[in-house]
Amino acid sequence: MYYSIAAAIIAGVFLISATLRDKNPNGFENGTPDIQSINGLAFGPNGILFIGDSKNASVFAIDTQDKTMVDKGQAVDLKNIDQKIASLLGTEAKNINILDLAVNPVSKKIYCAVQSQDGKPVLLTIVGDKIQPVNLKNIAFSRVSINYAPADDAKDQRGRPLRVWAISDLVFSDGSVMVSGISNQEFSSVFRKIPFPFTNAQEQASLEIFHAARGRYETNSPIKTLTTAELNGKKYLVESYTCTPLVLFPMDELKAGKHVKGRTVAEFGAGNSPIDLLSFKKGDDSFLIMANSSCPVMRVKYKSIENYEGSLTDPIRESYATAGVDFVSLPVVNVQQMDILDEANILVLQRKVNGDLDLYTTPSERWF
């Protein structure tokens, strides 16, 4: 009889654990994630939102439960979006910063990361002219640390560790979150490829680029923004760095501990920093769109990149000159964030000439 009871208990435990696994197929736990900052947003599958948190040197995955498929996103035209958000947060526009925008590719709902003066992060959704806070309490989430393992004597010999890993961008592609960041100590870019659902595994490849504007190889330029693309049937990580080189890294080479040399396919000129990168497909063509700090939005045909076999290696000696693949400068400047709303529209956060910060959607045909 005792054996029967024991067998029943064991079977029950297995049943319960199997049920829990079914309820949390992504390894999520239920609770309130301790998100200290939101420096980057990227959507994964089924409404899962990845949040880059520099303060915690972590990436959070949260289940937004926002899974209703919509083909067409709702158009947005919010003038002075910073003032509108500030009023809803009970403060003034000068006291908030919009740090990132991401559109849920399933629901086409816009998610907006805001940081207030006191450092507290806020996550909002925007649909049409309606702005709502996203509940971050008692939700399903998981978290992975991207920091270096602290030295084992860190607590014994010194105070609280000072290292910070400022996340500059993150994307989700092919089952992995790819994160770039900058250390506050050594002048180095850090890159992580983290499989999702999160486990202890993450691949830290060191990436090397040839900065043609600088005339020498270097490994330590800060990665500013990244995206992914398929070229000639092969997946690539597309990165842009401070001073705007555009570099390709084959995804299948980004392995733990591996030193990967990127192929520099364009230099868009010194004195400029990339702000955001997008890959957009239109008909049979696909395009790379890049927003910049000091230049207009640029458009590059991926076919041009596919046809550009080489890598820029010769130094650029002419001031602010460009090199590499052809690009088109669009008549759009001071774009701070952008994302794809749906197949026919692009979401743009733009500082207008009059100083207003506007969020709007624009038909993609205007850009292509």
Partner: protein
Amino acid sequence: MVLKVISRTRYCFVQCLVFSFCITSCFNKTESPQTISIQWKDSLATGFIFSKEWFSDVPVDSLESALSIHVIQQGNQPPVFGDYLLLEEIVVFQPLVPFTRGLLYDIRVRGQSIDSIKIPPSDSRNAPEVLSAFPTQDTVPNNLLKVYLHFSKPMREDAPLRHVVLIHNQMDTLPDVFLDLQPALWNKEGTLLTLWIDPGRVKRDPQPNQNIGPPLQKDEVYTLFIKNDWEARDGSFLKRPFRKEFVVGARDSISPEPDSWTLEKPQAGTRNALKVKFHESQDYVVLKEAVHFRSMNGNISGEITLGGEESMVTFIPLTEWESGDYFLECESRLEDLAGNNLNRLFDRDITLEKFRSEKEHYRIKFSIN
């Protein structure tokens, strides 16, 4: 929005946690005071606390729709996002982000304004200060790479370069000296900022260096000036501007050399300090974290402090030194003020120069007798 009924225990906890600052009180004729006070935490106004009498005729499930807070500015402002907590004796409204000092808030019940509350400006006596700027030494190499600013309180983190300038010979404010990184490189507490002097100008070949030249010129005098228009997270401004003058010396094109470091060793049976002298200033933050002391059996517990303008590390063990062999272990990422680490120079043409080493750690063995 969340509406919760919370037990008296929680109520007491909240009351203990919050030191209520009564802003206004209106008394009705039945001696039940109608009060509104500000909830404070770490000098931030994190909510409004209402005595329950304000809502005696409001059904519990209608509280959220009955009470709204609006910032008073030009035009009709929307209700502020926040959580509503219904406790036994009070109602608390907690905005998503703390109320802003100096702003006036309109409190409405069923759309009617019942009161307005101004969040008082910060107490200037608690204003933040720049405690120190690193490097601390007065002479820096011509290819200085980083500056750290240490504040007494958590600061606003956006756009630090609005508040930091470099002045040449007390006259000319220099443009484009620091790299405008986003996000800016703050520690978790918001008290330590890392500023990079634009590497594109520090390195000898890049276009910015060729076009504008290096930011610092040898034998010239510069002033790092921090304006007092910089706000802390609690809304208070820097108590005073901060300035630090320094002279620029020669270019540093030599990596730190562990073989040249000297150790002043204590005697066994004491807790006297072990001193490591580097004979040149090192990067403040990296030095703080890259040097470790180990016995043959593993780590030694103790305290590391920096001295000699970041040219020396002092280690005091928690327990007395025992006779025997020890290691100073230094991570190869230790950098001097020009960003040269133990393995490579910061400004190197890797088509000409190879890594000196790929080692992750450098070890110096020493004995205590």
